[in-house]
Subunit: 155 residues, 2 copies
DNA sequence: CTTACGTAATTGACGTGTCAACCAAAACGG
DNA sequence: CCGTTTTGGTTGACACGTCAATTACGTAAG
């Protein structure tokens, strides 16, 4: 039994609170904008962005999940929903009988090409424009550091 | 028709990508830890934290939603689920017939007091420990700036 | 060959979040 | 007062995410 847990000191707590609230508000607004401006959710956007940046708009299922760092069941459900709406299709993989490809359809391409400009505007308006170029770099660098730290850390 | 949208330049895009990936990975891990270490979800934790930091463990519904910056329907569903599990109760509001109070039950207190130490450890391990005190301050300051920027911004 | 084990991906159940519609009490304007 | 609008809060339908279990194929060992 840990007698007295090591609480965060006031400066740490303040930094954490600001970060968490900012992050939540930002991603919340962005995904609501996406949803109402286009017919894509944030999840749809991420998947289509990954696919369309890839050779032929196709990717192996597992590579896709790693690329966007999702769990495979999440991706499977997502791909299922997107397939139902005609944004992607599943294809079999010749060299591995268990494998699958996920492929962006022409509609998928159309959808993300339509959605991207406005989305980028919102990212710019809500996030990029809040900071100077130098501050933005700093934030990016610190984010990368936290990311690297987490990757060296168990689970 | 916008001829050529203003895309992010490479540095901006890099900063944005790092931030987004970091944030997603961090909150994902933290909420999975909460879920498996305690019997609270991240949402439960946020609500109970707000309530138990407040006089008498009770708050007006709307104040609660503003405090954690959620939409009211989200809060209503959440409170409903938590009430079903005995973590909170709803009470009527005498001075406003439409109003409601949300109150943390003893079990609610017990649950968050049990969950908090481990949760804080994870926050420390995954986030705080990744940065020096000075870097952490910087990140907090930049987050606050983005937050303030968003608050001055339409929707 | 076959048994066993690991890997690729799907499924189902359930908790969670969003949107739009709704309801009831309050506040306001005549 | 009475009708209208605003405010506080709930509801239902549906999209989304997680976990645990499952299917089906690949691979290596005896």
């Amino acid at each position: 039994m840990n007698a007295t847990p090591r609480w965060l000191d006031p400066e740490q707590k303040a930094a954490w609170d600001h970060f968490i609230r900012m992050q939540e508000k930002l991603v919340g607004r962005l995904s609501r904008h996406l949803q109402s401006d286009s017919k894509l959710s944030a999840a749809d956007y991420v998947v289509l962005a990954a696919l369309t940046e890839s050779e032929g708009g196709r990717m192996r299922f597992l590579n896709l999940t790693r690329r966007v760092e999702w769990e495979k069941s999440r991706m499977s459900h997502q791909v299922g929903r997107m397939a139902k709406r005609g944004l992607v299709t599943r294809e079999e993989c010749p060299e591995d009988g268990r494998g699958a490809f996920v492929v962006a359809t022409p509609e998928g391409y159309r959808a993300i090409e339509e959605a991207a400009p406005l989305h980028v505007e919102h990212v710019r308006r809500l996030f990029i424009d809040a900071l100077t170029q130098e501050e933005l770099d700093t934030l990016g660098r610190l984010s990368a550091r936290v990311l690297a730290h987490m990757e060296q850390q168990p689970d």
